[in-house]
């Protein structure tokens, strides 16, 4: 399958600390790839690197980010700008904050088309209808404060998809929304990805969201990918202790080896505290001396799965 997005060995650093370290992942057209992990593990920075909108403090140290084969990091700023909104788009965690309070719904959406609203009004109205906003003719001229959070996220989705991008990055798109709205937004993303063949990278800290929407998932821990693979297989039989821990936090999944991971002490290490070995070693119930000394590579284990654990066979 041809990959829309292929990230290889991406490393990002802040003041010398590798907050994203050797991340590789790919997404195909029409596929939903989830990145899941605790807050601070580097999910948002990974997405920002793809959009080439990294905060000034963050440096890309290594790796390539290919959008349909072209390495984004090597393009000029003006070239990347040409891709944004047209070939890759992004939606954010706080939809209301991601919209300019003084601009109308239609103005935002038209920007992705690089046209003044009056020229593309019909197209914008169709897009509003497509993302499930009722009465688009009225909504198009309203301001963000007149809309609910869920509706603002629909507006963001409309602005992200109207340019028919191949890739949509969704950074915690439902975290700030009510549970019922969450499900609606996820359904909408899923539906649009199918219909339009858009590749979606969905960032979340919630395994429940992953189960709902994703085809494949990459589990991140402290800037590295711990485990990746198809959602069904990975949920049924995690091959990294951290994945198992995350799954244990979802009450309805009972087939998880809780005996091993019932209580995981400790916390995610800060970037300054990273040791030479596996970054999860300090909290892992399966740790052996090798884990502290040598970082496990993300190694394929068959069926499109890979894990970064020296002792994954102990979990079989």
């Amino acid at each position: 399958m041809s990959q829309v997005l292929a990230i290889e060995n991406l490393s990002l650093s802040i003041a010398g600390a590798r907050v994203v370290d050797g991340v590789s992942l790919s997404v195909a057209a029409g596929e939903v790839m989830a990145i899941v992990g605790e807050s601070g593990c580097g999910k948002s920075l990974t997405a920002a690197a793809v959009m080439r909108l990294l905060p000034p403090a963050v440096r890309q140290e290594a790796g390539s980010i290919r959008l349909a084969g072209v390495d984004i990091a090597r393009l000029r700023e003006s070239e990347v700008r040409g891709l944004r909104g047209r070939r890759m788009s992004m939606i954010f965690q706080e939809p209301q904050a991601a919209l300019d309070p003084l601009s109308t719904v239609g103005t935002h959406i038209a920007q992705s088309l690089r046209q003044p609203l009056h020229r593309v009004r019909a197209e914008v109205l169709r897009m509003l209808d497509e993302v499930g906003i009722s009465d688009p003719a009225r909504r198009i001229d309203q301001h963000p404060f007149e809309l609910s959070g869920g509706m603002c996220q629909r507006v963001m989705i409309a602005s992200a998809l109207i340019g028919r991008p191949e890739l949509l990055l969704a950074d915690e798109p439902t975290t700030a929304l009510d549970v019922t709205i969450q499900a609606q937004i996820l359904d909408l993303l899923r539906k649009l990805a199918r219909e339009r063949g858009t590749a979606i990278v969905l960032i979340t800290h919630d395994m429940g969201v992953v189960a709902d929407i994703a085809d494949r998932v990459a589990v991140m821990y402290a800037g590295r990918i711990a485990e990746t693979g198809p959602v069904d297989a990975l949920f049924a039989a995690p091959r990294h202790p951290y994945t198992a821990l995350l799954l244990a936090s979802i009450p309805r999944l009972t087939d998880v080896p809780k005996s091993v991971l019932a209580v995981i002490p400790g916390r995610v290490p800060g970037a300054a505290e990273f040791g030479p070995g596996c970054r999860f070693a300090g909290r892992c119930p399966l740790t052996e001396p090798r884990c502290e000394a040598e970082p496990p590579p993300l190694a394929p284990i068959g069926d499109g799965r890979a894990t970064a654990c020296w002792r994954w066979e102990q979990m079989v």
């Binding site: 992004m90 954010f92 309070p101 003084l102 301001h143 404060f145």
Partner: protein, 311 residues
Amino acid sequence: MGAITLTRYLASRIGQALLASFGVLTIVFFIMRLSGDPTLLLVPEGASLEQIAQLRHELGFDRPLGMQFLSYLGDLARFDFGESLVQRAPVLGIVAERVPYTVALAVGALVVALGLGIPAGIAMAVWRGGIVERALSGFVLAGQSLPTFWSGILLILLFGVSLRWLPTSGSDGFASLVMPSLALGIVAMSTFARMTRISVLDELSRDYVTAARARGLSRGGAVLRHVLRNAAIPVVTIAALEIGNLLAGAVIVETVFAWPGIGQLAIQSIQSRDFLVVQAIVLFVSLVYVFSSFLADLAYVVIDPRIRMGR
């Protein structure tokens, strides 16, 4: 529905403003009276006690202060500001003659302050951490730390005495307005530059800027289309307050440059205890203050749809 809330909002702002003016007027009235008996300034030298008492009675200064205040308010309601005790002419005419000079000075200073301060503030925020910010912040710091009388004298020395480009004092056309406007505007310019910088920086850090760039806008495009309008809201508030400060600064600048505005008149009238003139000036200044904050409110309504819709 929006229109009614809006009208009510503006009406209540006008009400508050008038109340504030009345408060200021009351305070000034009593302070002026408590500072001494104005009759003594008016009687010829060697007047007898009876003559003084006679004059005091004629002028109504022997009535209780409260009574005097009420009758002053009554006169004001009929637009009668009284007669200057010193110049023996209607106060209204004396003040009105000076107002255009101060208005010209204040407008000149605002042009300096807004025209330089706002672009400087935007530039400092947009090119944060670079050479532009460092250079501009030097100017801003200098502008805000130099006292007005001092920068006024420096300007006179430079442009008036050394370069001989501009007249050193007086009110002889546009050329003589330039230096007083600069002297008065510099402090306000620094205020605007600092406020604008903070406000723009604040807006630049918001999610909607990243989101706008994710839609393909350049950083400059996001600033022009989204950031500036949002950043203008707090700056408008400061602008309104700054007009009041400008009038206060005008007192000093008009003295330094011998500019015949109401600031100079206020100093002269306070020195001669010509309190009706002082009161009229205070009333004028507080009405200007009130009117400018009213204009700021109107500006919010134009800029911000949340206020327009009564949220």
